[in-house]
Subunit: 278 residues, 6 copies
């Protein structure tokens, strides 16, 4: 860990939101590219075409508790995953909240490992087109198709609720049943869906939960997804603290004019605003 | 008809879904290109970026009743249309169900001609931005602007219900009235729309029923259309057997990064799943 | 003013809808380009890929009260703005209704100046992602970020209702309160929203009110916006006369395959149909 | 003609270069859109991404003889063509040189009509993929496929030399022979090609002379064309005065990220620099 | 083989050029999609944006010896390859010349097998970025990375000359030496390169021989390639009969606005013109 | 500096080529985005669509002296620049050669500062559309418009030769004269241009030296540039050791389908091959 990062983490005050880039795509199955996402998201976030005012009224431009820690320098798995866990652990020790920018979805596992140390009864809310519950995929148990299998095996969270799922093969169906995952499929989702969490929530947001019309810049486009507004409304219905989040699977090489980076930047704003609102 | 195709049809067992490509765009009025659609749809369907698991749980990858007959080799109208009718007739004689991949919308007429022989009280459900009821268009009565006029004139179906219509000029309005077409315009469509069919349904899906945000790869973009999910939900509300379908008017040359091919592939999966679910 | 334009205005009969292009982008803050919008909108409107039939049944192709005055030739501010006001005033003196095609949003101020002379109790309905209420922006009080501050300061309208707002910083929040602007934010908007106007309405439509999935061709993309259909439905709920409108902020250089021009053309059709329906 | 334009022309000093936009595409055969070109070219020219320094050392930013007259307001043919001729005549009467921005290629005919009055022994240098020598096209003798037939019939120029031609059907071949057009086809063009003009040259530059790799934003893409640098080098080999020019057939709706507008802006700079260099 | 195809082949007169689509991409290593190429090429060829006049003066629109046989219906390898060989053999038996439209590069092997029966001393001219000389690739000896290894092993041609090569690993280098392939790499190619063939030539044109600026629509983009004009000039320097050709590896899903299809259509025109010119 | 990076540098053996990413764009004047370039270049380099075989025969896949050090973690200027200089100094101390991946062009100055310590008579070869010789730009002397002014002021190199320049305003012209920069403008460049360096060369390659047809993904597109092959040929004419290089100004957000990343990856291969060839 660089001295700069150590200092930045040390400077976090309680209740801060700490943005952290995780430029990692070595666990991707179909096509790489997600490692390039963090600078695209930051560029959209800070573009003069927009501003940092959130819908609930917070202006992140003047909010000193909104901090960007930069990107982690990640070398090789599994060391990379340990480094992620260790770094997130330090952030949480400062009583700050993490907003991680992937990278592919495999990073959620090491993040949640750290969260489990600080939040013994964590609820995991997962937006995605796919359940990512494979026991192993193409020979790897750390693939971006597997993180939620690892998390559930290790009992890192109290509940896992998946929203937006619209392609689930028999193996993943069996895994979901085995682990007691609560799946709210696109087919069954209603706008008035109410989350009944009774404790803190960590949100893992795979951009392919969105319909490809809203988020073309992903590796695995599956039509029939959510609109950006539907996602914001669902998240707005949470009645418990949001203590951490990740936004993953932006693949800039498959994006159209950075449209998906704009969506990710919107999520950064709205999730940060929500996390600051204690 | 090639021996290969004859054999493939002969091998269909009752209750199968038979995918058949119809690379035809000689009846297009504005711009050609729809003839190139079938390989784009198949590529999206079989891409390693996705899988063949359907929302209702069927996995087409292991479903032996899901068959692809390849593309028909079509030469010139009207022989091409007769060849389509004859081929579909053979498929239906095997008690299989057709899922045709256009091509432009003119192919629906010869398909429904075959269906009328096997389903005397067929209901025709038609998703489209346009009614395609022209008596003739630019000198042709077989144009892709005319198929539903031909179908109604010949009394091939019991009812024709059109969904998603959002541009209808006086001539087409008059044709709709003349033929007793039931038009559910976009303006009047509600999410809870209930179809009251009392017998088997054939679904003709023009991709421009979708908003251009979801399906940019069409010849005739008309803003204000359906989302992919809205379509899937409406189709999910059918309470009668779905005995056949076509997905038409994908124009790959006007598509953006094959986004519309991805939507078409999604429809192939979900319509097949619905047709297999007897 | 050219003789041609004078003649065209003189030929307007009462109840006409007069389309007027305003190729102006010198008041844009982030990036120019909106000046190129009018020919792109006209091209989409008259493309053989579509037609001029509106959803309520009017066919503009045969409607002699639907007139296109062409583009104003605009030189430099503030003379350009005075010229806009003067031209619109002439149109309104003919008892016609204006449908202006921007250009950037700064043109709404000089248009509404003219409307205020003819409609003393005008209601202003404003679709936008941003409130555009800055007192001044980057040194200009005529910036496209300021028109509604000017309009409210001068008391040109009775009420200002803003729909689709989803980024509002403290300064603009203060301005909204100061001027009594009624803000219906995206966060709070419901499909059944009912406008309670009791007199004539002028509609100013910034295309970035739409989600970037529907309207990518704008300078300031803000995710989480309206769909085209949601906009059409909201406008369809107006129960008072629509006496004028503008469609602004199309930036063709940022568009994808003219998709946003197609949306703008759809709005031209539906707003014209609404204005003709007296 | 507006007073503004009259004044601007009146202010031209001898030796000036006057840029004039001609937003005209009603003479296009395949697809319209060229009318939207002038604002795209101006945007590329004045973008902060570039500057106005020319390769020969002139900086147009500080060159007071470089003037932009704005766009002509064009209504209907043939009046539009007469208005073009009249306006260009006024510019030439000021001893200024015209740099016209199309619009489609049909505008060259009315421009050259004006030039013929001032330059009795004019040479016409024409860059294009096509000879545009049709006697008539789709019923029009003023089509963008015909301007050079009109020019030659009326004897408006001394010589016509065409460069970059790579598709010429028998009719156009016959026309070329009939009129004594000197065709330097792509097939025969060598980098060292030397123009042997003995008097002033007017250059008509159709952007489809360039290979579609360099200029995708044209209606009629024909592979195998010139590179931008090859064009600049050929023009640089002219040893006689360049007294006027047009840059035509940019179709922004078919462009990719305004790449062709960037090429057109480069030509504006280099042709202006050449015309100023007396 | 369909009766239609049999008849079409039977109707070929000596000296004809027969276009034949081969929609095949099951031998592609990286990404599929080339099977969709033939309709994209035909669409560009017959688009009203262009015409069928060739640079040497032939107008294919009125040339009755220019025939399109349509696409072969290809099922599975190796039967597909045998069917290609058999069909090409029939074409050659009519003393016609083949112009095949791929499909991926694997189709060249079965084509040349047929040619070898009719042209015992054939020269094979191969434009490509890659030598495609792998002994096997990813487990297949019929991969699109292998056709020229198969051709040389079986001694089907007298000489193999490769042009445009710019990435050759040690294995392929060894194969080239083993088979006596004459490689004219991009690094060494000069515009004046002279082919010294002493007998008939078959030309296999992989579109990735072109620089990605000219042909983005290919699976394997390798920068530093030929321009379209350089290719046309090199082919124009052939001084022996061109008796057949293929144009392969267009991948429409990776194309930009069909730009590569436009290049392929240009090659169809110019190669046909050359083959007709006996 | 992380321990990982220290170790990686410590492991470099003499004669290695060390790739180093510099994700920096805070010195960009017009638009940011170049910081996202390194992962896009690496993705193109390692894509299964290509391979690591270089044109001179070296296969980087099996060349152990080809090393990737990853990206530097850069915080704020001027500390970032000192960190770059220090890191490069360490690489050079290992007798290795640097291949830096920008980032914007401002990074060349701190790199060359390190080189000057090790190569007292260094020649700097600079490919660019712009001379980047501003004394200061928009208030910054470290802008990406200024690096070569800094380098020349401090006498860090013996000679500076600039190739591809095609826009040079009077200020930069004066700077070039003041510093004795040798400018080979596009206007004057001939394919046979011969570099007369008599000692080691460092190459700084701004991708906008290429024509936008070849490299659209740059902030400052200036038409009329080099082709990729022309660049490779010019570099191939160097007759002295190439001891270091940078490839800068790739802006992925402005790229088309990563085409420019493919060019950058090609340059990585060919420059590495050249640097390994001692």
């Amino acid at each position: 860990m660089t001295t700069t990062l150590q200092t930045a983490i040390g400077d976090l005050e309680p209740g801060s939101v700490a943005v952290l880039g995780l430029p990692w795509d070595e666990s991707s199955s179909f096509v790489r590219g997600a490692a390039a996402a963090p600078p695209h998201i930051r560029q959209a976030l800070h573009s003069p075409a927009s501003n940092l005012a959130c819908e609930a009224g917070v202006d992140l431009a003047t909010e000193h508790r909104f901090r960007d820690l930069g990107d982690l320098e990640l070398d090789m798995a599994p060391e990379a995953f340990d480094f992620i866990t260790e770094t997130v652990d330090r952030v949480l020790s400062r009583k700050a909240r993490l907003l991680a920018l992937g990278g592919d979805h495999s990073v959620t596992y090491p993040i949640v490992r750290a969260y489990a140390r600080h939040f013994p009864r964590l609820n995991l809310l997962h937006f995605d087109a796919h359940p990512d519950l494979y026991d192993e995929f193409e020979g790897s148990r750390l693939s971006h198709a597997c993180p939620f299998a690892r998390i559930m095996e290790e009992g890192l969270v109290q509940r896992l609720v998946q929203v937006g799922i619209r392609t689930m093969n028999p193996h993943q169906q069996a895994q979901a049943e085995r682990f007691g995952v609560e799946v709210v499929s696109m087919r069954d989702l209603i706008p008035e869906h109410d989350f009944d969490f009774d404790g803190p929530v960590y949100l893992s947001f795979d951009l392919d939960a969105l319909d490809p019309a809203f988020a073309p810049g992903v590796a695995h486009r599956e039509a029939g997804g959510l609109s950006t507004r539907e996602c914001l409304r669902l998240i707005g219905r949470l009645r418990v603290p949001l203590v951490g989040a990740d936004i993953v699977e932006l693949n800039p090489s498959r994006d159209l004019h950075d449209l998906t980076a704009v969506v990710a930047a919107k999520l950064v704003k709205e999730l940060s605003s929500r996390m600051l609102d204690l």
